[in-house]
């Protein structure tokens, strides 16, 4: 039971009713895992509802490049119910862009910087999209986690010399 007295079924029904026009598909995988696909535009509203109203904890966001589109999964945990809800958004591969969650809660700040530099996703409204992980001399526009990433450094040595 959550602090508002909701059960697992109650939470899922509440989400499905409240965001009926935003949800594309709900995949109820197991008692502890639910994957909900949503449209990109209302994501900030849904994430805010989960974080602030339901008191879920933001675990992390994971971006990935399927060859046809770019997907981001935002993982939230409702500890009282031992339930992990993952919100999936699908973005266009040529110009992936979505509104940033960093103004809503600090926990999303760094992961959006990481996804920006490793996958090339734009986060509108992020206060500080500087480089986080990659070195300064890394070329612009080369995104390591994309499926079509290729070695760009002519001086890299990839064999052991035997």
């Amino acid at each position: 039971m959550t602090s508002q007295g909701l059960t697992r079924e109650g939470v899922l029904k509440d989400l499905e009713e409240r965001f009926r026009d935003c949800i594309v598909e709900v995949f109820d995988k197991s008692p502890k895992r639910v994957f909900i696909e949503v449209k990109p535009e209302p994501l900030v509203r849904m994430a805010n509802y989960l974080f602030k109203d339901l008191g879920a904890r933001f675990n992390i966001a994971s971006g990935l490049d399927t060859r046809s589109h770019i997907e981001i999964l935002y993982h939230f945990t409702i500890e009282d119910l031992n339930l992990l809800i993952s919100l999936r958004v699908k973005l266009d591969r040529e110009h992936p862009a979505i509104d940033s969650l960093a103004p809503s809660f600090e926990a999303a700040n760094w992961i959006e910087r990481e996804m920006h530099e490793l996958l090339g996703i734009d986060f509108n409204g992020h206060p500080d999209l500087r480089r986080l992980l990659l070195p300064d001399q890394w070329p612009e526009g080369v995104f390591p986690l994309r499926q079509d990433y290729e070695e760009w450094d002519p001086e890299a040595i990839r064999d052991r010399g035997v």
Partner: protein
């Protein structure tokens, strides 16, 4: 008042991980902190995509040396969640034993480093000597002091022999008297109280806003621990307490970690004495297409792995998130407003595992360099000496 910039790192002699912290100070007070990460980034998520599911565990172990069990544990749980399946009972017990052994050695390591930063070098040497006993115990169980290589999707790779259990129990029991003495020394020492109480306070609202994890958030009153909220291994079958304190300052974090060591000893001894017979490996032959998530409580907080499979024997995507990634940004809330002599102990209080985060550094804004990292540790140790003299201890 003029602003000066104090860079710490990147090669600080005691904090062996490279990072670059930059503190902007006005007089003695820190007004801003910037963290520069990237010195440890090795592209492990991309490497995972070229390896098969069981080869990956060896790379994943080497994300971080200190929490070298928590990453493969979370990863194997993520792979098992794709199917989904549960491992055999004996495998769960063995996994819990290894995970708790790692928690003990990690907290002791941190206690030694914290002791050094505060000027208690004897504590540093004693605690690391004590830690050697635990590493010996892990070597008896798994064959190596670190990088145990015990985990595989479906169970564990090696069994624990019955004749190994008595010497391991003996080693664990041998450290308890010294730990009791250490606990008493910490809880009773007036200089330590004066030095760490009220320093670097992290409020509960901030802990929730930053989604801080592990001891960093439990010290601020957020009673969350993956072992209690979402039990895995045998944590729901053993009697143990979650340690939570209210104030969120450095003293609370020290006390919390020392008390957690005692709980881990309790869990480890229970599992070693009640190890059930049975299979250790469920022998998975193939992973179906799907997604899986595994999260476990590492010594620093929740480690989260996400795996997507398309039915072949390599993952399509493997996302790694170590707890320090969520805990590092909290420096903005804890260090700003404190003095520079307290900066090192506040930075160390979240137990940053830089290699887990694959970065940590503080970016320099332009300014004149006043102190080096070595100087900051010296300042911290000098403050303890001053307090000791003032209190006549």
């Amino acid at each position: 008042m003029a602003r000066t910039v104090v860079p710490i790192g990147p090669y600080h002699p005691l904090q062996e991980e490279p990072e670059f912290f930059t503190l902007t100070v006005e007089g003695e007070t820190v007004v801003d902190i910037d963290v520069r990460v990237g010195y440890n980034h090795r592209g492990i998520e991309k490497l995972s995509e070229r390896k098969t599911f069981d080869q990956s565990t060896f790379v994943i172990e080497r994300i971080c040396g200190i929490c070298s069990t928590s990453h493969p544990f979370a990863y194997t749980r993520a792979v098992e969640d794709v199917i989904p399946m549960e491992v055999p009972e004996r495998a769960k017990y063995i996994r819990t034993i290894i995970a708790e052994g790692e928690r003990i050695h990690s907290h002791l390591l941190w206690a030694g480093l914290a002791g050094h930063f505060l000027g208690y070098n004897t504590v540093y040497m004693w605690v690391w000597k004590l830690r050697e006993e635990i590493l010996d115990a892990m070597e008896i169980l798994s064959g190596n002091r670190n990088n145990y290589a015990m985990f595989k999707p479906g169970g564990v790779r090696r069994d624990i022999k019955a004749e190994d259990i008595p010497p391991v129990l003996k080693k664990i029991d041998s450290i308890v008297p010294t730990l009791e003495m250490l606990k008493k020394a910490i809880l009773d020492d007036p200089v330590l109280h004066a030095r760490t109480k009220g320093i670097g306070i992290f409020s509960k609202e901030d802990a929730i806003n930053f989604s801080a994890l592990g001891p960093t958030s439990r010290a601020s009153g957020v009673a969350r621990d993956v072992r209690k909220d979402s039990p895995y291994g045998v944590y729901d079958q053993v009697e143990w307490d979650m340690i939570v304190t209210e104030n969120g300052d450095v003293f609370d974090k020290v006390v919390l970690r020392v008390l957690e060591v005692f709980e881990s000893i309790k869990i480890m001894k229970h599992c070693l004495t009640n190890l059930p017979a049975g299979e250790i490996d469920a022998k998975i032959t193939s992973i179906p297409p799907g997604e899986g998530i595994g999260h476990i409580e590492a010594p620093r907080g929740e480690t989260f792995h996400y795996v997507r499979s398309d039915g072949t024997n390599r993952p399509v995507r493997h996302k790694v998130r170590a707890p320090t990634f969520m805990n590092l940004p909290t420096y903005k809330a804890t260090v700003v407003g404190e003095t520079i002599s307290d900066a090192t102990i506040i930075l160390a209080a979240i137990d940053p595992c830089y290699c887990c985060t694959e970065r940590v550094a503080v970016r320099t804004t332009k300014g004149r360099k006043l102190f080096s990292g070595q100087d900051l540790i010296r300042l911290s140790q000098e403050k303890t000496e001053r307090l000791r003299k003032d209190m006549g201890v």
